[in-house]
């Protein structure tokens, strides 16, 4: 029982972690929080429903197409929402991203209807059974995929020119631009990468989480809770925070009460903001004068 919960919690946690990682990269790149990120994840899930189930496109190809679409959506979002508003206050941009979220939820409603869409698992009804432990094979898969993403990401950030440019822009945008880095291009890359992360999260989320037009708001709140735990800018913080949230939700739901499961993320937000506003691995970022 405990092992089963542990695996489920880790799996959910990895998904939250991936969505939050997308937010972390956007934050590192341009210092805004995208309140529509949860809806991007849900968009990926809905696209999977259309491609894989309705149009019978093979699974791997669907995933590939969805990642590209989400990267494009994310870059378009950057061009149309972030860039024109770059010089306005960050609050304005935040409200605009909520506008995008409202827009997307309505579009989902129009295209896919207000119904829950069940997405069958790629493993069919196969379950991993060891002794009396029963585990849905999705959860271990999620953990493995997340591990691969993180390894790839570390390689990308530290060993490629693009990755180094991304880190330079994050450290100091003006200096990076003086060093001949095309900051606009790097910001676009950041958004595209964040879109791919969200796509993966949404695809893996779809079979284990009922999709509905409003579930984007739920994912947003969880991702925000993780973002706060990560202190907005810490990559390991996002992963660890996601796992903490996933585990506390699964264990909380089974040992305390499943009705207040959603309250856990809000509780985490409040507690972290009260006691550790700089995040779990808080390196306190001093406000610049």
């Amino acid at each position: 029982m405990v092992i089963q919960l542990l695996v489920n919690g880790l799996g959910m946690g990895c998904i939250y972690g991936l969505v939050a990682l997308g937010l972390v990269f956007i934050w590192k790149g341009v210092r805004i929080v995208n309140f529509a990120q949860g809806d991007f994840a849900i968009l990926a899930g809905y696209l999977l429903a259309s491609f894989y189930i309705e149009w019978q496109i093979p699974y791997v190809i669907s995933i590939f197409i969805i990642c590209i679409i989400l990267a494009l959506v994310s870059v378009i979002f950057e061009r149309l929402v972030y860039r024109p508003l770059k010089n306005v206050s960050s609050v304005t941009i935040a409200v605009c991203t909520v506008g995008v979220s409202i827009f997307l939820q309505n579009i989902f409603q129009i295209i896919w209807g207000g119904m829950f869409i069940p997405i069958p698992s790629i493993f069919g009804s196969y379950l991993i059974m060891v002794g009396d432990i029963v585990i849905r094979p999705e959860y271990p898969l999620i953990i493995v995929v997340t591990l691969f993403v993180i390894i790839f990401q570390q390689y990308f950030l530290y060993n490629t020119v693009q990755g180094k440019a991304m880190r330079a822009v994050e450290a100091d945008r003006d200096v990076a631009s003086l060093m001949g880095i095309d900051t606009a291009k790097v910001v676009s890359t950041t958004f595209a990468y964040s879109g791919v992360l969200t796509a993966l999260a949404g695809i893996m989320l779809a079979p284990i989480f009922f999709l509905s037009t409003a579930s984007g708001s739920l994912i947003r709140l969880k991702a925000l809770a993780v973002l706060v735990m990560a202190g907005f800018a810490s990559v390991p913080g996002a992963v660890v925070g996601g796992i903490i949230l996933g585990l506390s939700e699964v264990f909380g739901a089974s040992y305390i009460s499943s009705e207040y499961k959603e309250a856990i993320s809000f509780g985490i937000i409040i507690i972290i903001l009260l006691f550790r506003p700089s995040g779990l691995f808080g390196s306190t970022v001093k406000k610049k004068v």
């Binding site: 935040a94 605009c96 709140l221």
Partner: protein, 319 residues
């Protein structure tokens, strides 16, 4: 001299129009809309005090609205208090909770504050839905309508005057606040908090105070809402509504009372004009927010400073 005389004439004309509005409108639906507009106006003017002046986006203004509504409803139903007492009391309850929320959160940076208020708003909504005293998901029913002596304000037409009266008082208060030393300090926070601290001003104290006043407005708006509809349910006080109020503020102009007024009026009337497109309504609304923010960074009030429009207004002789 001439200018102030013209302003006086304008004020009188506006006052007369506001007073005779219920006599001109025959439809129950439109007068309800106007009353609702007044309630949103209070929410937005209140939000302006914290978000407009200091730039800290309160994404839970509707949670305080809900607190005011439930407080007022419960005070009237359970304790039998008259409306005239529960109205200010509900404002005070909301303000008290506002101060408690504000003390820890206003120390944080802008986005931390925004996320903190989102979490607070959702928790409050969960409480409304799950507590026994608030009536659960079904909400609170049969909230009494206000009365003076034997006269009962049971129609939207008479209720309009209560709202108008409250708005008049609270807006005058907001103007006085804006031009007081506190108002000036608040506006300076957006520019540089550090400089303000250097001048020996207790910034966190002023911010918490402003948050208290801001949530007081929300509480009053909640009380007005509860006694107008005589029925409240948790779904009304959602995150979406909070964003709507924020949008009202930014569409008018953040940091100006007239901006808050114009924004709330425009955003209550505009959706009515969009009703023809029931299905696409929210999509238009969402994308509308983005377009308006991108092209009118200073809101509708900022638009009046555009040279061409300014010239046009000058020709009209209004300024």
């Amino acid at each position: 001299m001439l200018n102030s005389e013209r302003n006086r004439v304008l004020t009188i004309i506006i006052a007369v129009i506001l007073i005779i509005i219920p006599l001109l409108i025959k439809s129950n639906y439109y007068i309800r809309l106007i009353n609702l507009c007044g309630i949103y106006l209070l929410l937005t003017v209140g939000l302006n005090i914290i978000t407009g002046y200091t730039g800290n986006p309160n994404m839970a203004q509707t949670a305080f609205w809900g607190i005011g509504a439930y407080a007022s409803g419960l005070l009237s139903i359970k304790l039998g208090l008259p409306f005239w007492l529960s109205l200010p009391l509900s404002g005070l309850v909301a303000a008290m909770i506002g101060v408690l929320v504000g003390i820890p959160t206003l120390k944080l940076k802008v986005f931390h504050f925004a996320i903190g208020t989102i979490a607070f708003g959702q928790i409050i909504q969960l409480f409304f839905k799950n507590l026994e005293i608030t009536g659960g998901p079904a909400g609170l029913k049969s909230i009494p309508t206000p009365k003076i002596g034997n006269y009962v304000f049971d129609s939207d037409f008479s209720y309009y005057y209560i709202i108008l009266f409250v708005i008049f008082i609270l807006i005058s208060l907001a103007y006085r606040l804006e031009h007081s030393k506190y108002g000036r300090a608040l506006k300076a926070i957006k520019e540089s908090e550090l400089a303000l601290q250097m001048l020996g001003i207790n910034v966190s104290y002023i911010k918490v105070l402003a948050f208290g006043v801001s949530t007081f407005y929300a509480g009053i708006a909640g009380s007005l809402y509860a006694h107008l509809f005589t029925y409240i349910s948790p779904d009304t006080f959602s995150f979406f509504e909070a964003v709507k109020v924020l949008t009202m503020l930014y569409i008018g102009q953040a940091g100006s009372i007239s901006g808050a007024i114009i924004g709330s009026i425009v955003l209550t009337i505009l959706p009515e004009a969009l009703r023809f497109s029931k299905v696409y309504y929210m999509a238009i609304y969402g994308i509308g927010i983005v377009i308006i923010f991108a092209y009118l960074p200073n809101g509708l009030i900022g638009l009046t400073r555009h040279p061409k429009i300014r010239k046009y207004i000058k020709n009209l002789g209004l300024r």
